[in-house]
Symmetry: C2
Subunit: 528 residues, 2 copies
Amino acid sequence: MINDNKAYAQREKAYMQGKLYPDVRVGMIKVNLTPTVTRDEHGIPHMEPNEPVYIYDTSGPYTDPDYKVDLKKGLPAMRQQWIDNRKKAGQPVTQIACAKAGIITPEMEYVAIRENMNCESLGIKSHITPDYVREEIARGRAVIPANINHPESEPMIIGRNFAVKINTNIGNSATTSSIDEEVEKSVWSCKWGGDTVMDLSTGNNIHETREWILRNSPVPVGTVPIYQALEKVNGKVEDLSWEVYRDTLIEQCEQGVDYFTIHAGIRRHNVHLADSRLCGIVSRGGSIMSKWCLIHDKESFLYEHFDDICDIVARYDVALSLGDGLRPGCTADANDAAQFAELDTMGELVLRAWDKNVQAFIEGPGHVPMHKIRENMERQLDKCHEAPFYTLGPIVTDIAPGYDHITSAIGGAQIAWLGTAMLCYVTPKEHLALPNKEDVRAGIIAYKIAAHAADLAKGHPGATIRDNALSKARFEFRWRDQFHLSLDPERALQYFEEAGHTDGEYCTMCGPDFCAAKLTHDLRRIKK
Amino acid sequence: MINDNKAYAQREKAYMQGKLYPDVRVGMIKVNLTPTVTRDEHGIPHMEPNEPVYIYDTSGPYTDPDYKVDLKKGLPAMRQQWIDNRKKAGQPVTQIACAKAGIITPEMEYVAIRENMNCESLGIKSHITPDYVREEIARGRAVIPANINHPESEPMIIGRNFAVKINTNIGNSATTSSIDEEVEKSVWSCKWGGDTVMDLSTGNNIHETREWILRNSPVPVGTVPIYQALEKVNGKVEDLSWEVYRDTLIEQCEQGVDYFTIHAGIRRHNVHLADSRLCGIVSRGGSIMSKWCLIHDKESFLYEHFDDICDIVARYDVALSLGDGLRPGCTADANDAAQFAELDTMGELVLRAWDKNVQAFIEGPGHVPMHKIRENMERQLDKCHEAPFYTLGPIVTDIAPGYDHITSAIGGAQIAWLGTAMLCYVTPKEHLALPNKEDVRAGIIAYKIAAHAADLAKGHPGATIRDNALSKARFEFRWRDQFHLSLDPERALQYFEEAGHTDGEYCTMCGPDFCAAKLTHDLRRIKK
């Protein structure tokens, strides 16, 4: 079990059952709170209970005390029966095809329950019903990435009318880190709240690393298949071909990858648009495909074979994440002709994906100063027909290497509020080195903050519950309750204990005489 | 010298001289860059020089190698001659009175030069001239906090048509930390970029702690005088009186405090507006004054004696920071009747301050979800007649104790873009404990990011220069140049070195075959 320490003593794993599908069991974190204690004029204490708060849980079976972790065996194949049942019933394979056919899948009911954390227990009305989920998927406005060969994954939904999600990147490179480390990081990512994980490995053992990650991942896994294809041709961009790429796609579909980043938006005639840039092309896939186009003086095989790609992934329900190979790599290059030309192409491709009953979303920048963020979102909604937007940050200033989780959380919160459905995290090591576990944690928490701030601003059903429960606990000096409700209970508790605090009605920040909360309580007593 | 290590080898202290006042010498950081090296088809290297970049410098004499630090002696009294000259010439004491009289003070020329970093060297046009500074101060839209008894301070300007500034809070409480630690923290704050520092000490030795901080502070120092007044009456709120408060004000004016937070906006009849709040009153000064009003069932002496306060501070040119005693302490309480009633009162008070030739600005929240930030700024501009706004964050979600430097940098960047002139930093320890030095550093860097992001979005003259120089260095693998241009050169270098990097044309993030920057350089060679 991941959370086997005192910082989590008041948290427990809970499950909510489906109504349409009784075998839908949605895991969540139940935070048990202590009562509010007030004293009357005779000093006699009064207890008022505080309702438990439920938190969206990405940690999967790892936090279930009844589950025995065995990385060699992998996680239970929770969705296998649903996938088999659809096959037996002759239903379509992809969620979007089911949705268009009017079928509410167990995955759709699962995410509807998951999105409505606290709504049922507190009687909060939510627009998110299983049928609403189906409608959003049918319209292409939302995606449930769920490869039929990754039955271990717990369904989650990416769309702007749902809670904002975050992705974390892991993966080794030729110069560093091992399989064990990467599997550990993927589980670690789920512990802290990563909604999906991308395995961006580029070194040796790509296949094997991915296998371990997939079998042990309760969240959808994404990849950038061109990385493995390039390894297959020994790093020689000019030797890449549709055939090598196609075989790589099929290999990864078979393994169970839930979504692929595909840089099919780069057109031969648009590559030159990046020439005048300060930072050229900073997407690895984008620079590979641009180089290929120039060397061969040909249209990219990803663009040419886009329909073939769709036909392959549709058989597995792998979602396409249309990669922004020409995303800006510095604030000076934001919103330029190269970036927007590619966005136009992605808008064309997403329609072709939908025609083939393939779920798809669009990747976005990158580096964008604040006053240029809105244009990104509005243009994406317009050109890409409301397909979900999945952005990397954006980083809003370039002057803070070592702190880009913060520069990008600032941009991420804003673009998510405006409608971005998923944020790809950035760690403190961005631009400098590969992240270690503590960097992953720091990146995730920064992005959970950005995503949740956007949920509050968008009015996601029940989003304020956790904030308000925590604020009430803070005001009432229920310190442990406050920490258990927080994004990182371990860190909060650590800071509290390091300061030598006890559970009294003040803290070392102000001391007893200057505690505003204590004074307010006094003040309320005066008025009584 | 503070920055005596290799992370700063390419930085040097530079000075720019005034034109109106030749004894105006504005310190700045000059970052010397290495040339760009390109190779022609024969592999012969070509060198192209990169212009030095100047950075706004808050570190004062501490980073001047010709200055010998002696905390016991204190910093040189740089402004003493200007203050004496004004006195001899029979000119007004306060910057706002001078401004209204058409006098451009040396302080005004100083800040004009300071705001235009890189403009002269790069030929960038700027709207900020010494006379523009004068006009903004005369209109009350900007403030130069500069007590005549703090001649050690280097002039800086707070106003929304200037670069966004940040304040840091230091100070001990009854339960922790010593004078040495607090002086060290104030110098440390200047090193990392704090534009002003507030000494919020509440324990013993308030006077002595402040004296040490003032004599060694090259940035304006603010305080909340009610804290010391309360110590004088042994922590008994009911014993506070105008007389005790007045004497405290004079004591601190004499010492050289540059601005006072004064919670004069709390009216007796508005206190009850906080009753229905989730978190009541969270401002220490606000809760003290509210309690006083209730106990005595009287209008607050700060409000009643506001004109007397103005008369006192006008003699020293201490600026007033009208404190928001009823600021919201959680997102649920944001933008409520209590907060806005106080803002209305502050709008009334700021006019009275200006009438008395007192510089003034307005403090703001606190905790505000993103969708309610704009209303704060627009209402403040409207109700407070464009007096500068000085906000604490705002924190945009309550669920991240341990990370509130990030939750609040998200809100801070947005409100600063909309027009807030100065942001009060928040450290990772907010709500949990007093910050240590590393927390101060983390808080400052998060806020420098927010402030600079806002400068970029607002189009502050020359603000993009540093971003673009850093991005160019990054793209050209001039790693050391990149780090020297960054907000925290030590951290960037540390991450780089820990990863075992050398100065080659790739890093461990992607390895040599997958480096997009390297590929782009190849690609540009292909096209040639």
